[in-house]
Subunit: 483 residues, 3 copies
């Protein structure tokens, strides 16, 4: 590592114009546009905060467990420079020893601050440190302990509980992500306590549509039990899925979520699908091609069910999960070793769109981590099919440059109104306001450019900005006939 | 749809600096560069205006039929938000009922104005409304009728006929696109009436080189009749193609145009090609792989003929036409449901380039709707092979951001002088001046940046801008030995 | 070609702010940042200057032989506009006649100056002409002879020898590229004369791992002789490779270099690899698939050896070499007809990364000519695996726009500290300072934007700029345990 000479700790503060364009006139217009969106409520329809957090509403453990250990954006950067996951407190699957001194973990993180230069993690973390925790010095080896204490103090306060933060963060609506086999008991508790319309579930059937998951058969058994429907046949499997979708709808769900390696939606014949299902259920070997074919088939089936029950499909393809077997074996999934691959949409979605693409009751939102498809495939598709919306930049692309490139690449063909508006995607609850705020700033900057280039009037830009920040996400996830 | 509160109708005017860069100094230099290209004549070598329009020179029907119904850029955006093609007057193949009230169609379009924010359609339409029709209010539900009347008035005037507009639009040369089986009778009439050198045909053999077109056998029969050559054998087929190319050359054609799904140019042996041809002619089943192989083979054959007769090949690959069968069945082709796919050029063009790439009598212009190939494949190819020119950004990419990205991605490797200069591509005749004007503005902005970054002198920028706007398109389509 | 009216020769001078951003405030900050890197020493770890040049230290032949004939960037641009390689003095493989009048070649080049507008070649050449040779007029037909004389005068001076230029260019460390079969005699001479630590070799085994190279069997025989190890068996082949690697390490090498068509690293079983090797050695036919498989296997083997001996792997995939057989037959390799192809890394590198990716003794630097992989694959991989660094923009992408896009696409996911810092890649010795200088300017501009957008403090930007220019390249090529 390149060494840095440090003197007095640098002051940490948020400049009011951060992430706005640098040209003075463009910044002035962007500031004006942003002023109309800065305080709009947050719609958080693709969150990964655990529902338990809201149901139990306990205080967060400590700064390292809140900001470092569970955030694979944060840990992977230190791992990429040679630190072990163990040294950062990332639990081992085998229960083996990892660093348990949260203060020490936090020190390692603060000493690595330089690694985050130019990354959105740095941007979000600065926002959180200042706005949420009132920290005013830059993280470093020297300041780590003081910052740790400051945050510890803040999270111990009674108003720093998950439910209380909903108000502080201006979250109007937040969705959790829930396995298809979830009994939704936490959501039931939230409903009973008056939060049912504010914290809603999202139906995620990935585990039960991928025949090669180690837990697939156990999950199918669990599905039968939760649904109260025999899943020993393919027809029973579909019926159980329908039952669970209905339960999610009853619990307030507006959407389903689908993380597939490919966007393929080619349906199988019922006979072939049924044979494949039963064969896998018997524990017979299933080839990678069969796993792929069944997952594609089930994406098509989910669309068919969506037409019936109105759940909006969120399709998130193109990530090769768990690139490194050793990291997976040692620490489990979601540890920063999920790597994107080139993803095709035009041909892959065609079977689904042929049948449901112009159906007035169907809605799908398409996400990608492959930027090449914005202008080539996704904007042309979303600019033609009434059922489609183009999702916000996702994952690695949820960043200042990523969001700017998205608007520049997608808008000319899809317009603004075939996009979903901003959708955050994080496990890091405390980063949610920072993420929405950043997207509002970047969109304001893009719109300000259109204004200065006389491609849009400023009143149109202001209206569009509010649509992107707030109204479009609400519309995108509303049932089609209400939109 | 997000609702808008409307008060007095917004004024519509074209700012003289529209689409120029926002930085004040860059804008000043761009303005200077643009001033040297703004009034140059238009070279329109890839138009899709119907030749009948010029031959018959009738008045346009009405504003909806001129600006909305036939422009799939415009209709697809409304369809993508849930309107039916029928409600926009798009004819049904079965002659079924569609909206016939042009005033009502125009109202729907004006009420949807917001959808076009940030799109090139909005930019072109504003230009047309103000410059061509003298409209001075923004389209909206409230202003639709008044605008309809204004345009109706203008298109009824005797100077608003297709031929008269050639002068008004400063069009020096315009090419129509004509099937290989065209008898070119309209072009003959134009020639007889003194317009033969100004409105020229382009040879488009797509229908007769794709064995899977429903009309293929009928078109082959038509080819035989038009050419006066028996197409019952493969040799006769090639001879008939040569005859038609000669007829096009005699009618003033400078180019052929090739829309293929893939850029593959692998030739077949004569024997295999002949067997495939005869088999298809007999109505025997042809596999998709065979269709592809024959189309690739014929691209190679077209290059061989181009070396003989000097027609410049325009290659437009990478669009999956008619993505939605139901839309195709209901409304026919070119209805906004043509979606790009990733397209490979390096290996695909190699067979052709091995044989003709350095031939002094050969010229091909390469287009794409896959931006990823600009820096990776097309600029390196055009920066090496003397026969190649890199075409202007095409279709969805013919836009401010699309053109900017093209210059930024292609120039460093291909230079300016291995590009074709601006080539428009539209059925919307009234939008042609807007399209050329926009490209001149965007190029002026790009060149102004190079000047300010001291990578180019301003006199070089001015000269380059004029080359891109006018001289290079003329050169690109001139026979190689005249260039 | 479009004609240019020329009057007095244009003055050639380097503006101190060239290639800095055009916004005045951004430029001011960029200038400040650049001032801290402008005079840092050069680390040149991927050069292609011939080691003979340093060993023999003779004067360069003449301006055309120095600047035009051997630089395929320069000649391909003229060839792309119809000049023959022969007319530019590019030697023929068959010894056939080519232009030998260097003054005439140089005239052709100067008359073509316009073709280089907007290209990095123009930028580098201007830098060289002014800074290295003291030329003060723009190249043109009129000025060609005077410039030729000026350069001739300069290169005849005793301080303009390769070794003397090391100081003038501030080159701290330069690596040549050497075949695995090199006896390293020139490096031995340099070591004996005190330059062994400044001019070091790089181990390039491409010729002996690609079974389809025409010279493969001869090279294997040569390998046996140089290594003193029988290469008649696969085990002997591996042992000989190890021996050569050790010899390179002893001669100061820090890295190996691997130019493969694909990034595939799938290992074969020892048995299969041995059979393939022996079969190829017997001259038996080897299929393209087998060639590919063996090359991929050997990339994996090279990683295994790298863990043992510490050489850093540089992986340069994705170029289809010698696209045109006729050019290859007439003029040999590296004549501007090497064209990139889409390149996959996520799956291709997985076999290697599964085994060595988190090994503390392994380091690989990944290069690409396919920009689409920056944000999609390379930044996520380099942002996770501690062994990986993302190389500087390579070949066609080593340009102002290319470098800017690289920083914009890769930084947010990989950070700055998972990149290699600047690595030049050229045969054109005199262009090395220009290339480093340009990268420092472009990085300064990018960093200045982050500062103005309040995403980075200026002191951080200054430190980062110095790291990118000097410290990171040194670290990237240091053995992992020293980094």
């Amino acid at each position: 590592m390149v060494s840095t000479v440090t003197t007095a700790p640098a002051r940490l503060a948020l400049h009011p114009d951060r992430a706005l364009p640098l040209d003075p006139r463009q910044r002035e217009i962007a500031r004006e546009i942003y002023s109309h969106t800065a305080t709009l409520p947050l719609i958080c329809m693709h969150g990964h905060v655990e529902v338990e957090a809201f149901a139990e509403n306990r205080a967060f453990a400590d700064p390292a467990q809140l900001l470092v250990v569970p955030d694979h954006y944060v840990t992977r950067m230190m791992v990429s420079q040679g630190m072990t996951p163990e040294s950062l407190g990332v639990p081992r699957v085998d229960g083996g020893p990892v660093e348990t001194d949260s203060r020490e973990i936090f020190r390692r993180f603060c000493s690595s601050w330089k690694l985050y230069r130019g990354t959105p993690s740095r941007y979000w973390l600065e926002h959180e440190l200042v706005e949420v925790f009132g920290v005013d010095v830059e993280p470093s080896a020297e300041t780590a302990d003081a910052i740790f204490d400051r945050i510890s103090h803040r999270i111990a306060q009674p108003d720093f509980r998950p439910r209380e933060l909903l108000d502080q963060f201006r979250i109007e609506l937040i969705s959790t992500t829930d396995a298809a086999t979830s009994r939704l008991e936490h959501h039931a508790r939230l409903a009973a306590e008056g939060l049912g319309a504010r914290v809603i579930p999202t139906f995620r059937p990935d585990a039960i549509v991928h025949l090669d998951r180690p837990t697939w058969r156990a999950d199918i058994a669990e599905l039968a039990e939760v649904a109260g429907i025999d899943t020993g046949t393919y027809a029973g499997y579909l019926a159980a899925l329908r039952q669970r979708r209905a339960a999610f709808v009853a619990a307030g769900a507006l959407a389903s979520d689908h993380g597939h390696l490919s966007a393929d939606t080619t349906p199988l014949s019922d006979t072939v699908a049924a044979e494949l299902y039963v064969s896998a259920l018997r524990g017979e070997p299933v080839s990678p091609a069969q796993v792929h074919a069944f997952a594609a088939h089930m994406l098509f089936q989910m669309a068919a069910m969506a037409v019936e029950d109105g759940l909006v499909m969120q399709i998130h393809p193109g990530v090769l999960r768990d690139h490194n077997d050793a990291v997976l074996a040692a620490h489990g999934q979601d540890k920063g070793f999920d790597i994107p691959v080139a993803t095709e949409y035009t041909r892959a979605l065609r079977p689904l769109l042929q049948v449901f693409g112009t159906h007035p009751g169907f809605r799908a939102i398409l996400f990608t981590v492959d930027e090449t498809v914005y202008s080539r495939e996704l904007a042309p598709l979303a600019g033609a099919y009434p059922s489609l919306r183009l999702g916000a930049p996702w994952w690695f692309l949820d960043s200042p440059e990523g969001m700017r490139r998205f608007r520049e690449s997608a808008t000319e063909t899809a317009g603004f109104y075939n996009t979903s508006g901003f959708v955050d995607d994080t496990r890091a609850y405390a980063s949610i306001p920072a993420r929405h705020d950043l997207s509002r700033r970047v969109d304001a900057g893009f719109l300000a450019r259109l204004v200065l280039e006389h491609r849009l009037r400023v009143d149109e830009a202001v209206e569009t900005a509010a649509d992107l920040a707030y109204h479009l996400p609400k519309l995108a996830y509303a049932a089609r006939d209400q939109a």
